[in-house]
């Protein structure tokens, strides 16, 4: 019955409770929405990096990441690819020949990473084909064609069908030049990536280098969940190779993703702290209105502990009502916008610089809700302490005779 009385007391002054419930609901709605946007942004950035070129797992010769020289080829790359392709959870595998060099047009030059790929494998493993905004994807029937990013095209002042020269060092240290025709222009979420990466047919690079050489094997999985098992399996089978997952390849992305929840919980905590004072104020007004009633309750035999618990329960119920409304509103808004997306085209340039997508799909982890519920309860309990202490300090004999 104490619980029922507490619940009924919440609705005793509908306007007063309504205001504080609305404040909590709107505060949490805003907090959850911001959290959803931020989490969506980070998730999209990570997914975009994985889809663009990172893939879930990369295999290199040990030390390749420190010494990207042409000689750091993966020995027996074909057998590695063949083995990885048949592992459970592997969706696609792409072998890349990676060379650092220079792209030159008649007007200017730009340092680039030249990626020789098998178009079919790369299309399965990455989103490269989807990112073509002009021209066509790499055509195996043609020779010496290149895909360049829009930003690089602007820098080199070239268009489709223009010719550019790719320069890189051969295995013997000699400079190798190759003229390539721009077959397609891609545009990813990252303008920086678009300016510094070009894709050519692996076969064309092998012809210029004089022999086939694979420096990197990208492995795309059907789910993030397969990462540990596949990584372990490749490492055990090929102990001489360096097998890294996306989190190890891009620790800054992993850190961002992991810190999003923490940052958002701190953010929601700040909102709840601000609300705490509002809740305290409301509860204080509520208990001061009922001094005589509390006096009566204590006079007839209600223990101070029970009165304390009743005020605490009232505050928790009041706060949870607002919290539930806020979570429903916030969760609903995020679910709706997850379907429709938020168009951020007007900030496209700035967003692209940081690798963010133009269309943002807010998201929220289910785990946020129980954590938030717990945070609301803690906030309510903290908010209730002062009013509850005020109540139990009342002397029943004088409180009974208080007339407001």
């Amino acid at each position: 019955m104490l619980f029922r009385i507490a619940w009924k007391n919440v609705w005793r002054s509908k306007r007063r409770s309504g205001i504080v419930i609305a404040a909590i609901a709107i505060g949490l709605w805003g907090g959850l929405f911001a959290s959803g946007v931020f989490e969506g942004m980070m998730e999209a950035t990570v997914n975009s990096a994985i889809e663009r070129e990172l893939t879930h797992i990369q295999v290199h010769r040990a030390g390749f990441r420190d010494d990207r020289s042409i000689s750091m080829i993966i020995p027996g790359a074909d057998s590695v690819i063949g083995y990885v392709r048949h592992l459970p959870g592997v969706y696609a595998v792409t072998g890349r020949c990676i060379l650092d060099g220079m792209a030159s047009s008649p007007t200017t030059s730009q340092g680039v990473r030249i990626k020789g790929v098998d178009p079919h494998d790369e299309e399965s493993a990455t989103s490269l084909r989807k990112e073509i905004v002009q021209g066509f994807y790499i055509d195996t029937a043609k020779v010496n064609t290149v895909l360049i990013g829009r930003k690089l095209a602007e820098k080199l002042e070239v268009r489709l069908r223009s010719k550019i020269v790719l320069t890189f060092q051969g295995a013997d240290g000699t400079l190798i030049y190759g003229a390539f025709r721009v077959e397609g222009i891609f545009e990813s979420n990252s303008s920086q990536y678009d300016q510094t990466n070009v894709y050519v047919l692996r076969r064309d690079l092998f012809a210029l280098l004089g022999s086939p050489m694979i420096h990197e094997i990208g492995v795309r999985l059907s789910s993030e969940l397969f990462v540990p098992a596949v990584q372990r399996s490749i490492s055990e089978k090929f102990p001489a190779l360096e097998v890294m997952n996306w989190g190890e390849l891009a620790p800054e992305l992993k850190l961002f993703l992991e810190s999003v929840d923490l940052i958002m919980n701190i953010f929601l905590g700040i909102i709840l702290t601000a609300l705490l004072f509002g809740i305290t104020n409301t509860m204080l007004m509520s208990v001061l209105d009922r001094v005589r009633e509390f006096g009566m309750l204590m006079a007839v035999g209600m223990k101070r502990r029970q009165v304390f618990v009743m005020v605490m329960t009232e505050t928790v119920l009041l706060s949870l009502t607002g919290g539930a409304a806020g979570m429903i509103l916030g969760g609903g808004t995020i679910m709706y916008l997850r379907r429709t997306g938020i168009d951020l085209s007007m900030f496209a340039e700035g967003m692209a610089h940081f690798g963010f997508s133009r269309i943002l799909f807010p998201t929220i982890h289910f785990a946020t809700f129980p954590i938030l519920t717990l945070m609301i309860i803690v906030t309510a309990l903290l908010a209730a302490i002062y009013p509850a202490i005020k109540v139990i300090q009342l002397r029943p004999a004088s409180a009974i005779r208080t007339y407001l």
Binding site: I5, K8, E293, M298, A299, G301, K303, R395, A397, I400
Partner: protein
Amino acid sequence: MPLIQLSGITKTYNQAMVPVRALDGIDLSIDKLEFTAIIGPSGSGKTTLLNIIGGLDQPTSGTIVIDGTDISSMRESDLVDFRLRHIGFVFQAYNLIPVLTAKENVEFIMLLQNVGRSEREQRSLELLQAVGLQDRTGSRPSELSGGQQQRVAVARALASHPSFVLADEPTANLDSQSAISLLELMEHLNHQYGMTFVFATHDARVIQRAHRVVTIEDGKIKSDRKNATV
């Protein structure tokens, strides 16, 4: 043995560092089945005496024994429990819980006593019937008249099977008809169920019907007489 025995009760308040003696050597015995009114002008110590009898306040000196238990030096937590089990309260402003129905208000005391649900329900209905409110069990206090609310308060006071009922100005907020009706009810409960009542009052109607009238002035008992008119 008297139900209530006060011996040498004094109560001193320190108001603005000046000691004020509200009760000054009160000796008073009240037996079971009595229907006693404590009267006196404002500031006479009437309320302080009632608080001490009700275990809501403790004397500066002296002893108070209720139903064989000395409560004058009882710890606060034990006093709460003692009040719950031995004393029924009726207040001037009814002091019902506004969010509960009449039946729930009566049940509430038994809930504090950890009485089982079915017994609570049965007794609360019996008590509301005894005070003539059997058809208003589901009404909230705001839906009842002042007289009806005070009847619910009487039922609530009886719910815990108390040794006596302490009523502080129970008729002060009632119109004449309701006041008389309430007094008749209390007299009936006194006669029929043997319930002891102690009132603090200014109301001449209560004084007229009380079996015994104790007059307090300046913290002392000025007179203690049986009411010849009853």
